[in-house]
C-alpha cells in the first residue's frame, strides 16, 4: 500500500520538479513570513540602539534628522561634536552616581531579600491544595498590577498626612508628621520595599513550578529516612531547584536595571535627586531636557551593563542549561 502511494505521488510530481521549487511555496512563505518581524525589530530595537552609540558623542537637542547633518539655514551642523564629554559629565554627576548606586541596591535587595522570601513562601505552598491555590493567587496579585497604580497606592500609604506613616507618627507621638517619601534615605528605601512587595510573587511562581517538577518519591524517600522539612529543603529541593533559581536571578538583575514606572508616582526621583534609578535619571536628564546626546550616553552605559551581565551570566552560571 505504502509503496503504491509513494509511486503515485512521485509520478505526479516528478515532471514538475523544477517548477515545484517555485510553486511549493517554501520561498514564498519565507518571503512573506519573515520580513515583517525582522523589519519591525530592526527599526524599533536594533537601529535605535546603534543610533544611541552614534549620538552619544554629540551635544544635540534632537532638532533635525541627525546631529552631523548640515543645517542649511545656519550653515552649521545640527549638533556639536563633544567627544567623550557626555560620558565624563555623566560619570562625574552626583545624581548619576546616586542613580547607579540605587540601581545596584535594587539588584542587591532583589537577590538577597526578595528571592529568599519568594523561595521560602514557595516551599510553604507548592503542594496543590485549594487553600494553597488561593494564597498563590493573592501573592501573585501585585505582579499583574500596573507599576503606576502600585506607586500611587504606596504614595498614599506612605503619605505622612494619611496612611501608615501618619499612624506611625501618631503612635510615636511625633510633633510633625513623618513623610518617608520626602526624606533622603527613606525615599529610596520605600521604593525598595515596594519593589519586593510587587515582584516576590513572580519569583515565587517560578519556584513553585520548579518544586512541582521534583519527583515526589524522592522527597518521600528522604522523609522516611528521617530528614526533616528543613533538611529536605536544603539538601534536596533547593539544589534541584537551581535551574529555576538561575532564571529568576537573571530576571531580577535585568528587571532591576530597568526600574522606572514605580519611581515616577512615588518620588519622581526626589528629594534632591536622591531616589533616581538609571532609567529615571536617563528620562530626567536626557529626555525631559531634550539632551539627546547625553541621554544616549546614559543609554549606552545601561546597555553595556545589561549586555555584559547577560553574556557573562549565560556563559558561566547558565552554561549547559
Amino acid at each position: 500500500m505504502v509503496t503504491t502511494t509513494d509511486y503515485a505521488t512521485q509520478a505526479t510530481l516528478k515532471p514538475n520538479v523544477f517548477r515545484r521549487m517555485w510553486t511549493d511555496g517554501q520561498l514564498k512563505m519565507l518571503l512573506i513570513f519573515l520580513p515583517p518581524a525582522l523589519l519591525v525589530f530592526t527599526v524599533f530595537v536594533i537601529l535605535p540602539m546603534l543610533q544611541a552609540g552614534f549620538f552619544a558623542p554629540y551635544k544635540w537637542s534632537g532638532y533635525g534628522p541627525a546631529p552631523w547633518v548640515l543645517n542649511e539655514d545656519t550653515g552649521r551642523e545640527f549638533g556639536r561634536w563633544v567627544g567623550s564629554q557626555n560620558f565624563e559629565r555623566m560619570w562625574g554627576h552626583s545624581a548619576f552616581q546616586q542613580a547607579f548606586e540605587n540601581t545596584l541596591l535594587v539588584i542587591a535587595v532583589s537577590l538577597l531579600i526578595q528571592l529568599p522570601i519568594a523561595l521560602f513562601l514557595a516551599l510553604l505552598i507548592y503542594q496543590n491544595s485549594r487553600i494553597n491555590t488561593i494564597f498563590r493567587l493573592v501573592f501573585f496579585l501585585p505582579y499583574i498590577m500596573a507599576e503606576v497604580a502600585t506607586g500611587l497606592i504606596f504614595s498614599f500609604v506612605l503619605d505622612g498626612n494619611y496612611g501608615l506613616s501618619k499612624w506611625f507618627s501618631d503612635l510615636m507621638g511625633y510633633e510633625t508628621a513623618f513623610f518617608p517619601l520626602a526624606e533622603k534615605p527613606w525615599a529610596f528605601y520605600s521604593i525598595l520595599a515596594v519593589i519586593v512587595w510587587k515582584y516576590f510573587g513572580f519569583h515565587m511562581m517560578i519556584y513553585i513550578a520548579g518544586l512541582q517538577s521534583i519527583s515526589k518519591e524522592l522527597i518521600e524517600a528522604a522523609r522516611i529516612d528521617g530528614a526533616s522539612a528543613i533538611q529536605r529543603a536544603f539538601f534536596i529541593q533547593i539544589p534541584l531547584l537551581w535551574p529555576a533559581i538561575t532564571i529568576s536571578i537573571f530576571y531580577s538583575v535585568l528587571g532591576g536595571l530597568q526600574v522606572f514606572d514605580l519611581v515616577m508616582p512615588m518620588t519622581a526621583g526626589g528629594p534632591s535627586n536622591s531616589s533616581h534609578t538609571l532609567v529615571s535619571y536617563l528620562y530626567n536628564f536626557g529626555f525631559v531636557r531634550l539632551n539627546v546626546g547625553f541621554g544616549s550616553a546614559v543609554g549606552v552605559f545601561l546597555f553595556a551593563v545589561g549586555v555584559v551581565f547577560a553574556l557573562v551570566y549565560r556563559n558561566t552560571v547558565q552554561r549547559g542549561q
Binding site: 512573506i32 519573515l34 519591525v40 497606592i153 530597568q258 528620562y283 553574556l311
Partner: protein, 273 residues
C-alpha cells in the same frame, strides 16, 4: 488533627496576605471616604459610604477615553506580536535555510536588552516616522520588544508538533502558508493564549512608552491619565484612590480569568487541561 507546625505555616501565609490585601482594601475603601475621614482613618471601613467620587470618575468622559485608548493599544500590540511572532517562528521551525540560525539569534538579541537604553533615539525614530501622538507610536515599539519573547516560545512549540501532520497535508496539496493558518495556528491555542495574555498585561500597564510618545491628552492611556489625575487633585487622595481602584478592577478580573495562561508562561511549559 491540629498541629503547631501547620498553625505556624498558616499564620506566616496570613501575615503576608494581609500585607498585600490591606493596602489594596484601603485603596478601594478610600474612594468611598471624604478627604477628612481619610486622614483620621486611612484603613478603616467608611463611616458613611460616599458614592460621589467614584460616580464622578465613571461619569467622566476622559476616564473612559483613557481606558479605550489603552485597550486599543493593547489589542493592536497583542494582535501584531502574536501574528508576526508566530509567522517568523513558523518560518524558523519549518524551513532550515541559509542564515536561519543567524537570523534567529539576531531576533533573540531582544531578550537581553534593557529596553529603556535606546529610548531617546527610539523617540526620534517614531517622531521622524510621523507616529508621535498616534497609537502606533506605542504599539510598534512594544511589538518590536515583544517579538523576541514570542518567537522563542512559538518556535519551541512549533518544532514539537508532529512532522507527519505537515507531510500528510502536503500530499493533499496544502501549501506552507495555508498549513500555517489552517493547522499550525489553531493547534497552538494554548501557547497563543499564554503569549497574548503576557503581552496584553505588559502593554496595559506600560507607562514609559506612552509617557514619551503621547503628548496629546486625547490619546492618553489610563496610566498617563492616572498620573494626571493625581497631579490635578494633589490634596484629595480619596479621588486618586477611587481612580486607581476603578482601573484596578478590570485588571483583577482579567487576571482571574487568564491566570492559567499567566502561570503557564512563567513556567515555560504548555498549559494542561
Amino acid at each position: 488533627m491540629f498541629e503547631w507546625k501547620d498553625a505556624g505555616r498558616i499564620s506566616v501565609l496570613l501575615l503576608v496576605s494581609s500585607l498585600i490585601l490591606i493596602p489594596l482594601a484601603a485603596t478601594v475603601l478610600g474612594g468611598f471616604k471624604t478627604s477628612g475621614e481619610l486622614r483620621v482613618s486611612p484603613f478603616g471601613i467608611p463611616d458613611q459610604w460616599h458614592m460621589e467620587f467614584y460616580g464622578e470618575i465613571f461619569a467622566d468622559a476622559n476616564f473612559w477615553r483613557y481606558l479605550w485608548n489603552s485597550l486599543v493599544i493593547s489589542l493592536l500590540t497583542v494582535f501584531l506580536t502574536v501574528l508576526m511572532g508566530a509567522m517568523a517562528a513558523y518560518a524558523f521551525a519549518q524551513v532550515r535555510f541559509f542564515g536561519s540560525e543567524f537570523l534567529f539569534s539576531y531576533m533573540l538579541l531582544g531578550l537581553m536588552f534593557p529596553f529603556a537604553a535606546a529610548i531617546m533615539p527610539l523617540f526620534l525614530t517614531v517622531r521622524d516616522l510621523g507616529l508621535l501622538d498616534t497609537p502606533w507610536g506605542v504599539v510598534l515599539p512594544q511589538v518590536a520588544f515583544g517579538l523576541a519573547f514570542s518567537i522563542m516560545f512559538f518556535r519551541t512549540f512549533f518544532s514539537q508538533m508532529p512532522a507527519e501532520l505537515f507531510e500528510a497535508a502536503r500530499v493533499d496539496g496544502c501549501g506552507y502558508i495555508k498549513f500555517f493558518f489552517l493547522f499550525t495556528l489553531p493547534l497552538s491555542t494554548p501557547i497563543l493564549a499564554t503569549i497574548a495574555t503576557f503581552v496584553f498585561v505588559q502593554s496595559w500597564n506600560n507607562y514609559l512608552l506612552p509617557l514619551i510618545m503621547l503628548n496629546d491628552r486625547a490619546g492618553y492611556t489610563w496610566t498617563l491619565g492616572a498620573m494626571d489625575y493625581r497631579g490635578e487633585y494633589t490634596a484629595e487622595w480619596n479621588r486618586t484612590l477611587a481612580f486607581v481602584s476603578a482601573t484596578l478592577a478590570p485588571a483583577v478580573v482579567f487576571f482571574l480569568a487568564a491566570q492559567k495562561y499567566i502561570v503557564a508562561g512563567l513556567t515555560g511549559g504548555a498549559v494542561k487541561g
